[in-house]
Symmetry: C2
Subunit: 129 residues, 2 copies
Amino acid sequence: MCSTKREGMRGIPCPKGKIERFIEPCLLLLLAEKPAHGYELMDNLEQFDFDTRCQDPGQIYRYLRRMESEGLVISAWDPGGTGPARRSYSITEDGLSLLTAWMETLEKRIIIINKLISRYQETTKKGDA
Amino acid sequence: MCSTKREGMRGIPCPKGKIERFIEPCLLLLLAEKPAHGYELMDNLEQFDFDTRCQDPGQIYRYLRRMESEGLVISAWDPGGTGPARRSYSITEDGLSLLTAWMETLEKRIIIINKLISRYQETTKKGDA
DNA sequence: ACAACTATATGTATATATCACATAGATGAG
DNA sequence: CTCATCTATGTGATATATACATATAGTTGT
């Protein structure tokens, strides 16, 4: 349930192609949809290929605290609910602005990746012909 | 000519959203198209948003040597041509296999990024309505 | 001889991600 | 009632990746 390892040729690992800090726009989006606490966010991050629940749960708390120190989110202890105390996070105006900036960045990224893919397809087409 | 800095709100830098080791599939593709030496590859990398010529030219040589040690490319000193001696790189069968693996990885990445973008658009639609 | 361009390379610092571990309240089984 | 398990939040150390700075050297034109 908690493995995503992949290998290329000769034991050389094929990088997962992760995007730098990609967890940040994901967290900002989820918090733009509705306020939430860390443990809850972990489940929702699976939709974006993160397995934070199994692999390094601490990462998410570090990110949330860092983002709070940058003014992108704000938190408060949530008195409601059962179980251990939980810290509820909400997005700020600055957080929303950064999310928008992220979207532009990611749209450009897609264009570049698509350029690479289509050039690869052309090359293999010629090579096989 | 050599600046790409961008900022979000409040001086918080908006990450460029770079993909981990993305230079690797780019180099593999360029070498799949035709053998080349490092300095030449720098120019062609601009097409994939790298500014290796201006920013850290050393990076490319480190990558090429590492990839050679992994058997993804092979090199030889190129006697032809003017100017300083240059090392010509060619892709290997293992390199082509890894390039294919990279393509699958990147195609999955695109799907995830698109998921994020469309969810963002839905959220802002609702928020503005 | 000196500046500019081609060409390759290394040393170090910073940023980011991963691995490992620590703490603690709540809940249900035996 | 105590022990395992789940929820919930966090820190320390390490590994990896990228960025910044610098070194070397042949070649060409003035």
